[in-house]
């Protein structure tokens, strides 16, 4: 039986891991490599490194970080934030990343997803979607780390990126992100029926029961968690045990 993946999301600014709320704020929470290694050793299934300030500075600078990470972290590593060109993807993959997450550039130029998927394969290309609730069962796509509204509907955009060749979608609720108030279940419910590629739910987990609640309602393929780990609210073992006790299959 395939398992739900529990993914650690580490937002990075220069040499620090940071954690914001609603994708705002740069509070330092540790060293990203130390944290990645720690989570790997404690049974996390995957790591996502997001450059939290790539949008500000029109750069992306995670190369050294990934190079170091993949010398002792032997699980899939995704890198996102400021991926704007084919070369950016090439550099990321050559540095040791398995997948890249793309948001802003894809919204500006959807063809970029198609191009990247063709060259590197869909399995390498994650479409990162930042969703802000704007009405009853309606969410708007944002770019630039939750700063710029686009006027696009999240469900429509999700369908579009699948058509373009994205291999997975990492769907982040800006409203819940960093709040530890639980996942925006309606968001994932709205999207899941419109796409057939894997969905990683991101944003809002404060305790294991949040994950159980989400997974029992919606067939997401993975959950990306941050605050609950970075602030040491629960351990990976505790989270996975709770999931198993609720008959949710995860890798032990």
């Amino acid at each position: 039986m395939n398992k739900i993946r529990v993914v650690a999301r580490i937002d990075v600014k220069n040499e620090f891991a940071i954690k914001g709320i609603h994708l705002e704020g740069l509070r330092k929470v540790g060293n990203p490599n130390t944290m990645a290694r720690n989570y790997y050793n404690n049974g996390i299934d995957e790591i996502v490194f997001m450059d939290a300030v790539a949008a500000y500075y029109d750069r992306n600078s995670l190369r050294e970080l990934i190079q170091e990470a993949c010398t002792d972290v032997f699980i899939p590593i995704t890198v996102g934030g400021g991926i704007r060109t084919i070369d950016d993807i090439k550099n990321a993959l050559n540095s040791g990343a398995d997948k890249v997450a793309i948001n802003t550039k894809a919204v500006q130029d959807p063809n970029f997803i198609m191009q990247s998927a063709k060259i590197f394969g869909s399995q390498c290309i994650i479409s990162s979607i930042e969703a802000k609730k704007i009405g009853e069962n309606k969410w708007e796509v944002y770019t630039d780390n939750g700063r710029e509204p686009t006027g696009k509907d999240v469900v429509e955009w999700a369908q579009h990126v699948e058509e373009l060749g994205a291999g997975e979608i990492m769907l982040t609720s800006i409203d819940r992100e960093g709040t530890k108030k639980g996942f925006d279940i309606n968001l994932y419910q709205s999207v899941i029926h419109s796409v057939s590629i894997p969905i990683i739910a991101s944003g809002g987990m404060g305790k294991s029961s949040d994950a159980v609640k989400l997974i029992k309602h919606v067939n997401v393929d993975a959950i990306a968690i941050a605050s609950v780990l970075h602030y040491k609210i629960e351990s990976i073992k505790e989270i996975k045990n709770t999931l198993l006790e609720s008959q949710i299959k995860v890798r032990i």
Binding site: M1, N2, K3, I4, R5, Y40, G43, D45, Q67, C70, T71, D72, F74, I75, P76, L93, N94, S95, G96, A97, D98, F120, G121, S122, Q123, C124, G167, E168, I192, H193, S196, I197, P198, N219, D221, V250, R251, I252
Partner: protein
């Protein structure tokens, strides 16, 4: 003792290098025929399209060298696309010919219901044994039901079921997740991305190269 990893400009090889180095192997990347033939172990990595993989192997002029190495009885491991290339052909984008080292072909992973079982198959999933025991293979001392990391949309179907080393279930379908034919191994999953258990498999392979 040197293990060669085929460099044919496809996929992320840095992780494989790191994993092998982590397990103490003397490992190097190469697209040189002679280096391949001289090595004590060979790894064929790869992600992406079958046809692209074969095209690159041809343009790097490595097909013959790999075939020659394969019949030399030294350990050989194909990973993910690398495993698929071991077979005769693939139905992806029409029919493309593979290396033909193991009889069988590569087909799309059948899924019943696109809602609950999506493609690509991206997840951790269990290895189940087939007829042959895992002792003295790359799966030595690996626990039955261990989770490995998969990311693929196609699978290999060996004609001879004796070649099936492990199966894995997805979408109510049991597909071949690893193969063994004499000295040739293939892993549909990524051992270099499968945590400590994956490293153990790599370690098993390295030990075989040492003997």
């Amino acid at each position: 003792m040197k293990i060669a990893i085929v460099d044919y400009d496809i996929g992320n090889v840095r992780s494989i290098l790191s994993a092998f180095e982590n397990q103490g192997a003397n490992v190097f990347l190469t697209s040189d025929k002679d280096e391949i033939l001289k090595s004590d172990g060979l790894v064929l990595p790869g992600v992406g399209a079958f046809s692209h993989g074969m095209e690159n192997l041809k343009s790097y002029d490595l097909v013959d060298a790999i075939k020659e190495y394969a019949i030399s009885d030294r350990p050989f491991m194909g990973i993910c696309l690398g495993m698929q290339l071991l077979f005769e052909e693939s139905e992806e984008f029409g029919e493309t010919k593979g290396l033909g080292l193991i009889l069988g072909k590569v087909v799309k992973l059948p899924t019943k219901d696109s809602q609950n079982e999506k493609l690509p198959h991206v997840s951790w999933n269990e290895l189940n044994s087939n007829k042959a025991p895992w002792e003295n293979t790359i799966l030595t001392d690996i626990e039955e039901g261990s989770d490995m990391y998969f990311v693929h949309s196609f699978i290999a179907q060996p004609r001879d079921s004796d070649n099936i080393l492990s199966t894995t279930e997805y979408s109510s379908h049991h597909f071949c997740s690893s193969v063994k034919k004499d000295n040739i191994y293939g892993c549909q999953f990524h051992p270099e991305k499968s945590g400590p258990t994956g490293l153990k498999i790599i370690n098993n392979f390295i030990r075989m190269c040492q003997t």
